[in-house]
Symmetry: C2
Subunit: 261 residues, 2 copies
């Protein structure tokens, strides 16, 4: 469970989490997928606390849809470590909002320590026709009062992941009951896991994920087969990944930058 | 994150959780795998708070190993619902302890509501040779002062899942980076997900999991292929499952009882 630190509501939300043991990998570090889940929860708590969360929007037949997520980490929290996710809205336009994240904790001396940062882009859809709708039309543009422009998020904004026709087919997986969320779509967090499962555990023994980026392009449903294609990016530790459904339609694109440990 | 309610330490630990949206299935109910994770966290917090947790035991080169877990639910918490997991040790013998769980929350009138119960059996191993060790030898049998005999856990204890040679092969899956925990073994929670993925989402539209039972028999590692065999149990809504590694060695056995919705 996640609880909010600050009962006075400012522009920045702060939420406490714990690197739970079953959410940590072979090295005892939090899995990127679980960190992604914590960021999405923080986003949801932050927007709910400020009157533009999912539960409020459902009444207005609107929903937030995650369009892109980028996470860049200096270090991943070690198991049993408490950490804080700060989140704030950097900007809101008619069809997109930019929401940032900072992940921090304490070092052994009790000093503030930054684990990393995240950036995300969200659209708002009409839940009936699933088309984008005007974010600024909700509550007379109430979201604009929450825009935080001072807090820094010193990581690259990212952008469209460029892929060529050189991408190599890696594998096809089935999607099952546990992959699917309440909307009947393959859950955003599960894509992160499936992408990172493309590398064997031995790769992770010598490489750490420095930056993970994912763009959600189309929706997949339970039972859809997902095919993964991969090619090198700027160097031998950067990879671009395309995920397609059976019919060849692209559902996600991702970029992963590793550093050698 | 999970926080403890009661700062005075009694025999029963109480921990608050939230049915997080990405931890809920297509119907908005908490996934059994995530509930299992919450129970295991509650067990860990409870034993840590009382001086016999994993972190303490690591210093003594000992570790708890989950041997069996049974969960029986009247209802699963709906998304965004806070709920409480109570846990206590029902009994401790030389080689096994029995730990129980109660999952509760509030109904719409604010009255206490029981979601369900769990039972688990744990062994303690020597982390060097991975052999069972004497639980009562730790801290002069300190665990015995925590045994709670009054609190009821009104679900069947379960036992060995009986399988015949009629079990049908269902599928073989690969195990990847995200399946593996800090010990290098396939994570106990992931087995729950893999078992429940044996049924298509359409089955879940008309059937609810009433009881889930799993016995951990042997360890699997990243890269092991897991094969699933299934047969009917006592009736058409009860199933027994065997999971084997490539070499045919059985790693888990599970029993799932559904009820028609």
């Amino acid at each position: 469970m996640d609880s909010q630190d600050n009962k006075t509501i400012g522009k920045i939300g702060r939420y406490q989490f714990l690197a739970e043991p079953f959410h940590c990998d072979y090295s005892g570090r939090l899995f990127m997928g679980h960190l992604g889940n914590h960021l999405l929860n923080a986003a949801d708590f932050h927007s709910t606390d400020r009157g533009f969360g999912m539960r409020y929007l459902m009444k207005a037949k609107r929903a937030w849809v995650l369009s892109r997520l980028a996470i860049e980490m200096e270090e991943m929290p070690f198991q049993y470590t408490p950490f804080t996710v700060e989140t704030w809205v950097e900007g809101a336009m008619r069809y997109f909002t930019q929401r940032n994240f900072a992940v921090s904790g304490k070092d052994e001396q009790g000093n503030q320590k930054i684990y990393g940062y995240g950036r995300s882009i969200w659209a708002m859809i009409d839940v009936d026709n699933r088309q984008p709708t005007d974010i600024l039309a909700v509550n007379d543009g109430a979201i604009q009062q929450w825009i935080e422009t001072e807090k820094e998020c010193p990581i690259d904004k990212g952008g469209r992941v460029k892929m060529t026709n050189q991408a190599q087919y890696v594998r096809t997986i089935d999607t099952y009951y546990n992959d699917v969320d309440i909307n009947g779509h393959v859950n955003s967090v599960k894509y992160i896991e499936h992408v990172l499962d493309l590398w064997p555990i031995d790769w992770y023994r010598t490489h750490r994920i420095k930056r993970f980026e994912i763009a959600y392009v189309a929706e997949a449903h339970a039972g859809d087969k997902l095919s993964f294609y991969r090619e090198n990016g700027a160097d031998e530790n950067e990879f671009c990944i395309r995920i397609c459904k059976d019919d060849g339609i692209e559902v996600c694109r991702s970029k992963v930058k590793f550093v050698k440990d």
